[in-house]
Symmetry: C2
Subunit: 269 residues, 2 copies
């Protein structure tokens, strides 16, 4: 499939590499800045465009907009202009499909690969769920087929459900990582390297492959051990936000422990 | 080393298996209930004792108390009685060493393997940091030597520092797992299996092997994207605790993003 990649950030880079590895033709990489456009174009062995969106090629079948959420509303009409027959897709977890209809675009879609992308980390698309959606049934089919060349896990999902999926990803990824950051801060205070936490972090992530998070929960908050919790809060006396998080998370863990486990079976036996 | 294991829960079981695998002699397993004492004793091919702590053997060099924190104050004097020359250690992250001195025990110590133990999960002690402490220097040396047979990562750590370490483990493990639980709840509402989150959870844990949590942070809260965050909070209108957690974590992530990264080097390059 002949496509143009609009955006050369972390997601654009990983997606471009995955498309290339699966034999798709990325005929151009566009980015606002010359530096990032050329860096990714070099990596993919393709043409770079930068500066005005007018410089984006007009002959591609598919334009993949891998840009920040808030750049989409302005960018969509610019990319659509003069490319009325092409399919435009964005890659955002939280932006709805109807951005395209609102901009008067005839063929719009979404291709959301759910992952956290950081510089210097290779991402294996093969194991990564991709969620697609399109204005037209034939484009949905086209995106499903394209996504299936990249990953074994492809789902058609509405914008509404995708927003909730994105919320769950914020909990499982962004908030879990912030828990690591708060842990790192405490560890530093006792002069220990962050590495001592890695086996615990890995096992915590590993456990939910075979147990539900409800079943996997351990620690003082499950049994609401006030002695331990009070002493922990004393250690956080100079970290008011972390102390509030500690209290709230502990209450929420205790409330969750009181719920019936809805996962009667391990989720991935 | 001839030792008796007091406690046959998840930690006792994993520790017993690791001791046995490293060639140590666990001469007896004691538990309050016959069922759990016999189950672990069978697993280790050793003697079971249950009911009154009087039934614990008196000829061991080391008694490892792998029981819940709040059971320790009552149990320590019972195990110490009639075993005045033996070394008693507990395995708790949050209980201080001076529990032993307070109970009039002459030789006390701590052996804290930092990990989350769940039924049905094998734990590889070899990669797991163990923190030791003892009332006497020679016992500290003895525990260091013992721990070094189980793991490559052994640290001597004071009770005060261990308490803070335990707090950091609560963040990195218990709270991270609760983030998975909150994610699971949202995912259920859009009819998706929990498994779709596993690649994201694994990559989130994987990233902090090469980036600091500060460097690894992604998501709407880093840039304080109020549009996305407001829509997420609307989805949580029927989950007041989860909504409070969302707000607080987002504020804390944004505050962390404004700090200088103290880890100039990736933590584990």
């Amino acid at each position: 499939m002949n496509c143009v990649l609009v955006g050369a950030g972390r997601l654009g880079t990983c997606l471009g590499l995955a498309l290339k590895a699966c034999g798709h033709e990325v005929s151009q990489v566009y980015s606002r800045t010359e530096e990032s456009a050329c860096a990714l174009a070099d990596l993919l062995g393709t043409e770079a465009a930068f500066g005005s969106p007018d410089r984006i090629r007009r002959d591609a079948e598919l334009y993949i907009l891998a840009v920040k959420d808030d750049a989409l509303p302005a960018l969509i009409p610019q990319v659509a202009a003069g490319r009325e027959d092409a399919l435009l897709v964005h890659t955002s977890g939280s932006m709805p499909l109807n951005l395209f209809a609102e901009a008067g675009v005839k063929r719009g879609g979404v291709l959301y690969p759910m992952q956290t992308f950081s510089k210097g980390r290779d991402v294996n698309f093969n194991d990564l769920p991709i969620f697609v959606e399109a204005m037209h049934e034939e484009d949905e089919q086209l995106l499903k087929t394209l996504a299936a060349t990249l990953s074994r896990q492809v789902y058609v999902l509405s914008s509404e459900a995708r927003r909730r999926l994105h919320l769950s990803a914020v909990f499982a990824c962004n908030f879990a990582n912030h828990c690591y950051a708060l842990a790192a801060r405490e560890l530093e205070k006792c002069g220990l390297p962050f590495d001592v936490l890695l086996p615990l972090i890995d096992e915590t992530a590993g456990k939910v492959h075979t147990l539900s998070p409800h079943q996997a929960q351990t620690g003082p908050a499950v049994r609401f051990d006030e002695g331990v919790m009070q002493k922990h809060l004393e250690l956080l006396h100079d970290e008011p936000l972390a102390a509030q998080i500690y209290e709230l998370m502990s209450r929420s863990i205790h409330a969750e422990a009181g719920r019936a486990d809805t996962d009667t079976e391990p989720c991935n036996p």
